[in-house]
Symmetry: C2
Subunit: 118 residues, 2 copies
Protein backbone atom coordinates (compact mmCIF):
# COMPACT_ATOMS: atom_id res chain seq x y z
CA UNK A 1 0.00 0.00 0.00
CA UNK A 2 1.13 3.61 -0.53
CA UNK A 3 1.93 6.13 2.18
CA UNK A 4 -1.52 7.73 2.07
CA UNK A 5 -3.36 4.51 2.72
CA UNK A 6 -0.85 3.47 5.36
CA UNK A 7 -1.29 6.82 7.08
CA UNK A 8 -5.07 6.46 7.00
CA UNK A 9 -4.92 2.95 8.44
CA UNK A 10 -2.49 3.74 11.23
CA UNK A 11 -3.55 7.26 12.10
CA UNK A 12 0.04 8.40 11.65
CA UNK A 13 0.49 11.28 9.19
CA UNK A 14 2.47 10.76 5.99
CA UNK A 15 4.92 13.44 7.14
CA UNK A 16 5.50 11.58 10.37
CA UNK A 17 5.97 8.28 8.55
CA UNK A 18 8.62 9.86 6.31
CA UNK A 19 10.23 11.29 9.43
CA UNK A 20 10.20 7.85 11.08
CA UNK A 21 11.92 6.39 8.07
CA UNK A 22 14.49 9.17 8.11
CA UNK A 23 15.38 8.63 11.78
CA UNK A 24 15.42 4.85 11.45
CA UNK A 25 12.22 3.84 13.22
CA UNK A 26 10.86 2.49 9.94
CA UNK A 27 13.41 0.55 7.91
CA UNK A 28 13.65 -1.27 4.58
CA UNK A 29 10.57 0.46 3.22
CA UNK A 30 10.80 -0.45 -0.46
CA UNK A 31 9.89 1.77 -3.40
CA UNK A 32 7.79 1.07 -6.44
CA UNK A 33 8.83 1.92 -10.01
CA UNK A 34 7.93 5.57 -9.44
CA UNK A 35 10.01 5.82 -6.27
CA UNK A 36 6.92 5.82 -4.02
CA UNK A 37 7.15 4.01 -0.70
CA UNK A 38 5.42 0.64 -0.43
CA UNK A 39 4.16 -0.48 2.98
CA UNK A 40 3.00 -3.99 3.86
CA UNK A 41 1.28 -5.83 6.72
CA UNK A 42 4.53 -6.32 8.61
CA UNK A 43 4.97 -2.56 8.65
CA UNK A 44 1.44 -2.29 9.98
CA UNK A 45 2.30 -4.64 12.87
CA UNK A 46 5.53 -2.83 13.53
CA UNK A 47 4.04 0.66 13.60
CA UNK A 48 1.40 -0.69 15.98
CA UNK A 49 4.11 -1.73 18.39
CA UNK A 50 5.93 1.55 17.90
CA UNK A 51 2.75 3.39 18.87
CA UNK A 52 2.55 1.26 22.00
CA UNK A 53 6.09 2.18 22.95
CA UNK A 54 5.45 5.82 22.17
CA UNK A 55 2.20 5.84 24.14
CA UNK A 56 4.16 4.60 27.12
CA UNK A 57 6.74 7.38 26.75
CA UNK A 58 9.64 5.49 25.28
CA UNK A 59 11.89 8.12 23.66
CA UNK A 60 12.12 7.96 19.87
CA UNK A 61 15.87 7.38 20.17
CA UNK A 62 15.20 4.17 22.11
CA UNK A 63 12.55 3.04 19.65
CA UNK A 64 15.06 3.70 16.92
CA UNK A 65 17.59 1.51 18.75
CA UNK A 66 15.00 -1.24 19.09
CA UNK A 67 14.23 -0.94 15.37
CA UNK A 68 17.92 -1.33 14.62
CA UNK A 69 18.13 -4.50 16.73
CA UNK A 70 15.06 -5.83 14.96
CA UNK A 71 16.78 -5.27 11.62
CA UNK A 72 19.72 -7.35 12.86
CA UNK A 73 17.53 -10.42 13.22
CA UNK A 74 16.96 -13.13 15.80
CA UNK A 75 20.47 -12.78 17.20
CA UNK A 76 19.31 -9.68 19.06
CA UNK A 77 16.30 -11.30 20.78
CA UNK A 78 18.05 -11.20 24.18
CA UNK A 79 18.95 -7.54 23.90
CA UNK A 80 15.50 -6.57 22.68
CA UNK A 81 14.06 -8.50 25.59
CA UNK A 82 16.27 -6.62 28.02
CA UNK A 83 15.14 -3.31 26.53
CA UNK A 84 11.50 -4.27 26.91
CA UNK A 85 11.98 -5.60 30.44
CA UNK A 86 13.55 -2.33 31.46
CA UNK A 87 10.75 -0.40 29.82
CA UNK A 88 8.11 -2.62 31.44
CA UNK A 89 9.62 -1.95 34.85
CA UNK A 90 9.53 1.79 34.25
CA UNK A 91 5.97 1.55 33.02
CA UNK A 92 4.89 -0.46 36.03
CA UNK A 93 6.46 2.10 38.36
CA UNK A 94 4.76 4.89 36.50
CA UNK A 95 1.44 3.07 36.72
CA UNK A 96 1.84 2.88 40.50
CA UNK A 97 2.73 6.57 40.74
CA UNK A 98 -0.16 7.52 38.47
CA UNK A 99 -2.61 5.59 40.64
CA UNK A 100 -1.34 7.58 43.59
CA UNK A 101 -1.62 10.83 41.62
CA UNK A 102 -5.18 9.98 40.66
CA UNK A 103 -6.03 9.37 44.31
CA UNK A 104 -4.45 12.72 45.23
CA UNK A 105 -6.42 14.53 42.57
CA UNK A 106 -9.65 12.83 43.63
CA UNK A 107 -8.99 13.88 47.22
CA UNK A 108 -8.83 17.46 46.02
CA UNK A 109 -12.03 17.03 44.00
CA UNK A 110 -13.71 15.72 47.15
CA UNK A 111 -12.45 18.74 49.05
CA UNK A 112 -13.96 21.10 46.47
CA UNK A 113 -17.20 19.13 46.48
CA UNK A 114 -17.34 19.53 50.25
CA UNK A 115 -16.41 23.19 50.43
CA UNK A 116 -17.90 24.61 47.25
CA UNK A 117 -19.62 27.83 48.38
CA UNK A 118 -21.91 28.03 45.32
Amino acid sequence: MNIGEFAARTGVSADTLRYYEKVGVLRRITRDASGHRVFDDRDLDWIGFVLRLKATAMPLADIRRYAQLRAEGAATFAERRRMLERHARHLQDKLARDRDHLAGIRAKIAYYAQHDPT
Copy 2:
Protein backbone atom coordinates in the same frame (compact mmCIF):
# COMPACT_ATOMS: atom_id res chain seq x y z
CA MET B 1 13.04 30.65 52.29
CA ASN B 2 15.06 31.76 49.25
CA ILE B 3 14.90 30.26 45.78
CA GLY B 4 17.93 28.04 46.34
CA GLU B 5 16.49 26.33 49.38
CA PHE B 6 13.07 26.06 47.77
CA ALA B 7 14.66 24.47 44.69
CA ALA B 8 16.56 22.02 46.87
CA ARG B 9 13.43 21.06 48.82
CA THR B 10 11.19 20.61 45.81
CA GLY B 11 13.67 19.22 43.30
CA VAL B 12 12.64 21.95 40.86
CA SER B 13 15.55 24.06 39.55
CA ALA B 14 15.73 27.78 40.37
CA ASP B 15 15.54 28.54 36.64
CA THR B 16 12.37 26.53 36.33
CA LEU B 17 10.86 28.22 39.39
CA ARG B 18 11.53 31.65 37.85
CA TYR B 19 10.02 30.40 34.62
CA TYR B 20 6.94 29.17 36.50
CA GLU B 21 6.53 32.57 38.06
CA LYS B 22 6.91 34.22 34.67
CA VAL B 23 4.21 32.10 33.04
CA GLY B 24 1.85 32.38 36.02
CA VAL B 25 2.07 28.94 37.59
CA LEU B 26 3.60 30.49 40.71
CA ARG B 27 1.92 33.70 41.81
CA ARG B 28 2.27 36.33 44.50
CA ILE B 29 5.81 35.30 45.32
CA THR B 30 6.94 38.21 47.49
CA ARG B 31 10.39 39.77 47.57
CA ASP B 32 12.64 40.64 50.49
CA ALA B 33 14.45 43.97 50.92
CA SER B 34 17.08 42.92 48.36
CA GLY B 35 14.48 41.97 45.75
CA HIS B 36 15.05 38.24 46.29
CA ARG B 37 12.06 35.92 46.06
CA VAL B 38 10.65 34.59 49.33
CA PHE B 39 8.88 31.21 49.30
CA ASP B 40 6.76 29.80 52.11
CA ASP B 41 5.07 26.54 53.10
CA ARG B 42 1.98 27.28 51.05
CA ASP B 43 4.18 27.54 47.98
CA LEU B 44 5.66 24.19 48.93
CA ASP B 45 2.18 22.62 49.00
CA TRP B 46 1.23 24.27 45.76
CA ILE B 47 4.34 23.22 43.85
CA GLY B 48 3.72 19.69 45.13
CA PHE B 49 0.31 19.70 43.52
CA VAL B 50 1.71 21.27 40.36
CA LEU B 51 4.21 18.42 40.14
CA ARG B 52 1.35 15.96 40.47
CA LEU B 53 -0.50 17.62 37.61
CA LYS B 54 2.66 17.75 35.52
CA ALA B 55 3.49 14.12 36.26
CA THR B 56 0.07 13.20 34.92
CA ALA B 57 0.68 15.18 31.71
CA MET B 58 -1.47 18.22 32.35
CA PRO B 59 -0.17 20.91 29.97
CA LEU B 60 1.49 23.88 31.65
CA ALA B 61 -1.12 26.17 30.08
CA ASP B 62 -3.86 24.29 31.97
CA ILE B 63 -1.89 24.37 35.21
CA ARG B 64 -1.48 28.08 34.68
CA ARG B 65 -5.25 28.40 34.25
CA TYR B 66 -5.80 26.44 37.45
CA ALA B 67 -3.30 28.69 39.25
CA GLN B 68 -5.24 31.70 38.04
CA LEU B 69 -8.51 30.29 39.38
CA ARG B 70 -6.78 29.57 42.67
CA ALA B 71 -5.70 33.20 42.86
CA GLU B 72 -9.34 34.25 42.44
CA GLY B 73 -10.34 32.54 45.67
CA ALA B 74 -13.09 30.24 46.85
CA ALA B 75 -15.53 31.55 44.23
CA THR B 76 -13.77 29.36 41.68
CA PHE B 77 -14.04 26.08 43.60
CA ALA B 78 -16.64 24.71 41.19
CA GLU B 79 -14.58 25.49 38.12
CA ARG B 80 -11.41 24.09 39.64
CA ARG B 81 -13.33 20.98 40.52
CA ARG B 82 -14.55 20.62 36.94
CA MET B 83 -10.98 20.97 35.67
CA LEU B 84 -9.78 18.27 38.02
CA GLU B 85 -12.69 15.96 37.24
CA ARG B 86 -11.92 16.23 33.57
CA HIS B 87 -8.26 15.57 34.23
CA ALA B 88 -9.07 12.63 36.50
CA ARG B 89 -11.18 11.07 33.74
CA HIS B 90 -8.33 11.44 31.26
CA LEU B 91 -5.92 10.00 33.74
CA GLN B 92 -8.13 7.03 34.46
CA ASP B 93 -8.49 6.32 30.74
CA LYS B 94 -4.75 6.57 30.31
CA LEU B 95 -4.22 4.22 33.23
CA ALA B 96 -6.45 1.66 31.51
CA ARG B 97 -4.62 2.03 28.21
CA ASP B 98 -1.25 1.82 29.93
CA ARG B 99 -2.23 -1.41 31.65
CA ASP B 100 -3.08 -2.80 28.24
CA HIS B 101 0.21 -1.53 26.82
CA LEU B 102 2.10 -3.16 29.65
CA ALA B 103 0.35 -6.47 28.93
CA GLY B 104 1.24 -6.13 25.24
CA ILE B 105 4.88 -5.44 26.05
CA ARG B 106 5.02 -8.36 28.47
CA ALA B 107 3.58 -10.61 25.79
CA LYS B 108 6.46 -9.64 23.55
CA ILE B 109 8.95 -10.23 26.36
CA ALA B 110 7.46 -13.70 26.80
CA TYR B 111 7.84 -14.31 23.08
CA TYR B 112 11.51 -13.37 23.21
CA ALA B 113 12.01 -15.51 26.31
CA GLN B 114 10.50 -18.43 24.42
CA HIS B 115 12.33 -17.95 21.15
CA ASP B 116 15.67 -16.56 22.21
CA PRO B 117 18.22 -18.56 20.19
CA THR B 118 21.15 -17.79 22.51
